[in-house]
Symmetry: C3
Subunit: 350 residues, 3 copies
């Protein structure tokens, strides 16, 4: 039997199974530089040690989405190497800041299993946890993916679908944010006069700018995250695949959209939680990504007078300037240009 | 009103206005690695901490042009997002070394305004200053750009054109260079036996090598500098634009030409000042950049017996090996293959 | 005479000549991040400071092949700028770990010279040595390349061909590996239960995954190594050259194959020595690289009960999934899809 692995199939998972993922990763300023070069983020807290320290961080924290990419990347070889669709996220919380020099590891627990009626695939629900070298949880989320069966006739256990919250409660937000010295928060350097109190529920923001993606860029990004999902790198296979070309890692679109959202959300310096999200359409190299946001809700965070939370819908669209805020068609179907529909809580000074 | 920004137009600027630019940036060894990977610089002082320390630096300083890119990048959202041409630089001086860990911020003062006769555009002159986290100025320069008017009929103030020096005086050079221990400067490691005294005014150097530029490369570079100028990243818009394709950031050509100039100027380890410069033609992906230099002048630096200055013309050309030193046509017009004509002061050991 | 260099030709070398190469280089975590982003390596020792420290390293060491790229890159301007073929490696040993912050320099001694019968080229044999800032040798290897003559009629010295060992002896392995605390080696985090004792001579491993290479990627890599070999970057010249396109640096294929070999060799955390290697065919952008390995031999390392050595053949192939282990054709010729045939010693815990 070969020592190399082809990943788990649906029937390989069992309820309650805990997987300790391989490839622990020390995060460095090298990763930060690459992340900047790949997406053009400009949030002052992550970009400037001096800014971060002035308001209360030990140093400039690692971008939240980059932390997510590292944790997710570790889970791929065990959880989703044979996935055919990433179905959703829930109860997704950042719980501690990550700094350069920290080492991330990841575990996943199987919290649900549901075979599809065609018996060729099933849905695997996992709760994945990223920890630092001191064992502190930095990120915790539920994710469900549709995974192929190796053998259509393999017996599977009873169907278990976990109950997951529709959104993360305000009391669970901001745990990765130290006490912020708002008086020291320099709005000129941050790039905007608008704090938490200046946003209204229902407000929509056109983030204006667009970013064209090249093959080399998404490959460099996805390798940086040590995400070895097959479809992103292998043109030899993908030429014969569903689309005839490499599929860009969905997380690449999240990072692009988040970086684009700086224009209009400059002080939304932290993603505290993700309530849900969907990769509506795949992206391929050559596409230009645009983004817009809508304020879905506003919340005070219990015990925090320094920061407040905005619940935001972040929508990315391909080759479609977002001035008309594309989301659904007249018939109520997903707009064909929409790539991503993400529902998250951002933290801003107040 | 949307909270996102579309940049300033000509009529938005006022004489004497001071803009504190957003996106403070801590420079790291991650940025240095990317810079090396994008251009192939080999100057020993910037490449080796051991070399730099042996001759008197605290550690390996950040490449001068990289410092420029960071400072310029910060000014773009406020100064040149609606520029249609970058017209010139003057009185451009590096005043202190930048090391990994330093945080850069930038300010610009509007020092001149001149509406064009078509009333559709105007020239904005700014003096931009980059500072480190201790408030020390590391870079100071005047730049002028042609900026669109939002409204042709908008009234504008009186024309003011600043007087700028044709060149930086030798006494203003070398402030970013500590006292150099020339005896400890290892010519083998640096790659050349030629010091300041070995170059003659009028000498021309063919830098021989060429470098082909890919879309992913210039996009990665320009994002690294957090330069969000629209024309570099957005193929969706540029397909309908002036050239039908993305325009490579002019600074990318400066960095390529500077790195190519190592072959023949190995000991010109520091750019002390830029007297002037012009992006003669745009560059697009697929072009191969070559470079040549001419020694325009030599100067002792008052008070410095360790280093001397060479005034150099650095010319970059596209798809044109530089053995014939392309610059102008027989009719005296700019050569169509020339991309860049830069006039700067370099510092060498003496 | 121009101060720029065109590299040495065969008649410029003399037996016993020692060349101190230029461009000393401080290795940083920025280089590590780029290396990860270019190849997707996942070996825990190099990826995680916490993992490396737990088993006995001071911190996460620099990937062995990255150290090789840096050392080789320094030799290129002097040794192989006018090479037309890289013929072989022998007696290639890693002798000390390299950590972020170390500065690498390189020397080469000419140990053999052999003019070819056509008098247009000759073979140059060098022993190249990479040292750190304390003067400790970190890498030592013999390499021979075919170099053009500038002048067919130039007289050359007597033919000297050095005697080089067919393989590195087990007693010479593992000098770059500190005493390993095998009890602290976490197999889950490393990604495999298989240690040295679990591999059998003759065992073949299909590494399964493939990686498509883009022009921007190999250019970024090769510049990172400050390897200025002409054929990798200059499409203007290569369009008129042998293949009509840029040739990917052979070391890029080594790094890809090594990173792919993680799947099945997860605990082969260190390359101790290279016995020999051949770039069988060139690779061009757009090709997808696959890899397979064969265990050629197993050896105990004298004095080391913590680690053992596997002699491995690592074969990379282009656009050819390696399930059939391509190597030679039915006629015994090199398989046209094979890119690399590398014979090396890997170290694993025992």
């Amino acid at each position: 039997m070969s020592k190399s692995k082809v990943g788990n199939f649906f029937e390989d998972f069992s309820l309650g199974q805990v997987i300790r993922h391989a490839a622990p990763r020390t995060v460095t300023v090298g990763d930060v530089a690459l992340y900047t070069a790949l997406y053009l983020p400009r949030f002052a807290v992550q970009s400037s040690a001096a800014f971060a320290q002035a308001i209360g961080y030990r140093e400039a924290p690692i971008d939240d989405i980059l932390v997510f990419h590292f944790v997710l990347g570790k889970t791929v070889p065990d959880v989703s190497l044979n996935a055919i669709a990433n179905l959703g996220y829930a109860d997704f919380k950042f719980l501690a800041p990550v700094y350069p020099g920290d080492t991330l590891t990841a575990n996943s627990e199987v919290i649900g299993l549901k075979e599809n009626s065609n018996k060729e695939t099933g849905v695997v629900y996992v709760r994945s946890t990223g920890k630092n070298q001191r064992g502190e949880t930095v990120l915790d989320y539920a994710r469900w993916v549709m995974v192929k069966k190796r053998d259509k006739d393999a017996p599977v256990g009873p169907e278990v679908v976990p109950t997951l919250p529709k959104s993360v409660a305000p009391a669970d937000l901001g745990k990765a944010v130290p006490a912020i010295n708002v008086a020291a928060y320099d709005k000129d350097l941050a790039g905007s006069p608008y704090f938490w109190g200046d946003y209204e529920v229902g407000e929509k923001i056109d983030h204006i700018d667009g970013m064209t993606v090249e093959e080399a860029e998404h490959q460099i990004a996805t390798r940086l995250y040590q995400n070895n999902s097959k479809v992103h790198f292998n043109q030899y296979y993908e030429a014969q695949g569903r689309f005839g070309k490499r599929i860009i890692y969905g997380g690449h679109v999240i990072s692009l959209a988040r970086a684009l959202s700086f224009n209009g959300l400059e002080n939304a310096f932290h993603i505290a939680a993700v309530n849900g999200g969907r990769h509506v359409n795949p992206l391929f190299a050559g596409g230009t990504v645009f983004a817009w946001s809508e304020v879905l809700d506003k919340a005070e965070i219990p015990g925090r007078s320094d920061i407040g939370a905005l619940r935001l819908r972040l929508v990315a669209a391909k080759d479609h300037p977002p001035a008309d805020f594309p989301l659904t068609t007249a018939e109520g179907k997903p707009h064909p240009d929409v790539l991503l529909d993400l529902d998250y809580w951002a933290v801003l000074p107040r």
